[in-house]
Amino acid sequence: MLKEHKNHKISGAEAVIRCLLEEDSNIAFGYPGGAIMPIYDEIYKFEKQFRHILGRHEQGAIHSAQGFARVTGRAGIVFATSGPGATNLVTGIADAQIDSTPLICITGQVSSHLLGSDAFQEIDIIGISTPITKWNCQVTKAADIPEVFAKAFYIANSGRPGPVLIDITKDAQFEKFDFSYKKCDKIRSYRHTPKIKEAKIKEAAAVINQAKKPFIVFGQGVILGNAEEEFKTFIEKTGIPAASTLMGLSALPTSHPLYVGRVGMHGNYAPNVLTNDCDVFIGIGMRFDDRVTGNLDSYAKQAKVIHLEIDPAEVDKNVKTDIAVLGNVKETLVKLTEQVTPSSYKEWLGEFDKLYQKELEVVIEPQIKPSKDTLTMAEVFDQINGQTNGDAVIVTDVGQNQMIAWRYADFVKTRSSVTSGGLGTMGFSLPAAIGAKIGVPEREVISIVGDGGFQMTLQELGVIMQHSIPVKVVVLNNEYLGMVRQWQELFFDKRYASTEMSNPDFIKIAEAYGIEAKRVTTREELSKAVKEMIASDKPYFLEVLTEKEGNVFPMVPTGASVSDIRLS
């Protein structure tokens, strides 16, 4: 393709598409508008080589690009026009930044001679997106496009991934120039992966080899580093129990004998309690978020803390580390595995099991097999697990639906749990699931969303309709903004300020988009409907009416220590 177009002038707009194709990106999400029309004109011309998915709102389009990136590991591409098109991307960009998701956001901009004149749909998207992008750049000359795109892909994908934004003035899209493309593999001011210090590996191995009660918490770094196998080998050699953060889920099969559950605010009882009992704490590709640690003053104070991390700015940010092992975990884990002695911690694992039994009895069993007639959210996941054997990609929204999915969904494959972790963006699930399904069409993709979050981006059902994307959508409807209601119940004396929802007939909405839809209220219906949903090779909408005032437990209340986690 390159050769064909040497010594042949093409427009900046055409160059944009050619740059994307050079980077093997042939799918994009977006929404057209005045300032990006030249690029859309090229999308039209490249129809056979380049697929564009029209969102129903730019926020929907960017969440789809995020979903695509999370399941494929490749940068998601999103187009938007200037002004409101660009500002509508902001939530998705911020979400991608905090969850380290690689994105290339391309916005149209008014012509360069109009910059700063408050022209129609002019907005300073570079200024607006600066604090929420890994890198951004405005292009006012077509000739700069190849280099900027090459840099953008390199930056978005390398080291700790993240979103980049390229803002292209309309005149630069029209301008003709000689196109040639060279991939970027170096930027002198950018060190994406720190050099591994052998001494640190040695030090960490020595501490691990001495440990009596070591404990691992792994985050998304294992997935981003494609280090799932290296991680598994490491824990299997050392025999150390491992718990996941919200973002780390699915890096290790949930059925693995050394997997001891989830840490954090609504995580499992044992790993939260035993965080404050272990003698060596090993954080792998995680960033000690406040939802993971609870009160820092009483977090793992008794333990030696080892932190395997790619981003030096994360070391000692929240938790003081004794040994920081910088580098990509794909490499550091291999080196560490070589230096640790094979071990097993039967008694220590027994402690996890003992506490798990308690959680099973007090929380899990009553949630999965409730004595009441009303359905719980946990039952839905029990059914989905049964029907999919944990093989589906579960894309959750934010709130109770997310926490219950995180707690109860089984996973056998990596990159199967997609959620808005750091930013907590309601409305994420449906569009992200659409992007995920486009990314891995061969896999079952299920959007899990509450009645609140669904109504934030339900317009994206139009994308499912237009492109016949066989996504399964499960709305867990408790007619409340459930998580906020739970907090109001626990911490605000049940003053349910603006959390009760009058909902429309969701079935009619889904059917209006031509999607097969079912509403269930009983256990028998649920099991039948989930079976039917999974068996279907078409888009499917399932609304489950769940108990109205159900709570997610266990819970580490804000400001409390992780070991003070409440079971009820």
Partner: protein, 172 residues
């Protein structure tokens, strides 16, 4: 409790549009006031240098430098305490010419090694370089005579120890 103190942060960067915005946003996000800011070329060709002065706890300044350092177009960022650097600020004072032959003023300027760099019928301009405190003192001394205009630059600073930046540039 760690006490806040004055730190000078030196950031070596590429010279790109919008970078100042990116750097200052890092301070803004953490609600940190920038006491002084200077942007200039550095000893390395095509590499610019931002000098920030902040008053904060060392543990926090470390984290800020970590965030600055990880920006794509930042080559390296460093921080130094007051005793680790040699630093200066420059000030210009505009004073009415009626005071030009006032001996007190002449003495004060001589004592402080301040220079008169421009004289007109209406005013004369004093150029003075020193620490922030030195400039404050001269300001107080001149105030009774009426300062028509006053301006001071941000801090510029040089570290006593070697900045590892040159080695780093060689390495890449």
């Amino acid at each position: 409790m760690e006490t806040p103190q004055k730190f000078t942060i030196s950031v070596y960067t590429e010279n790109n549009i919008g970078l100042l915005n990116r750097l200052s946003a890092i301070f803004l996000k953490r609600h940190i006031n920038i006491e002084s800011l200077t942007a200039s070329p550095s000893e390395i060709e095509n590499i610019h240098r931002f000098t920030f002065v902040v008053i904060m706890q060392e543990s926090k300044v470390k984290k800020i430098v970590g965030q600055l350092d990880k920006q794509i177009e930042v080559v390296r960022a460093f921080y130094h305490s007051e005793d680790e650097i040699i630093y200066k600020e420059t000030a210009l004072f505009k004073v009415s010419t009626e005071h030009l032959y006032n001996e007190e003023i002449q003495d004060k300027l001589k004592f402080r090694r301040a220079n008169i760099i421009n004289i007109t019928k209406e005013y004369f301009v004093i150029d003075y370089t020193g620490s922030k405190e030195d400039i404050d003192i001269l300001y107080d001394r001149l105030k009774p005579y009426g300062i028509m205009q006053f301006v001071r630059s941000g801090r510029i600073a040089i570290s006593r120890s070697k900045m590892p930046i040159s080695d780093y540039i060689k390495e890449i």
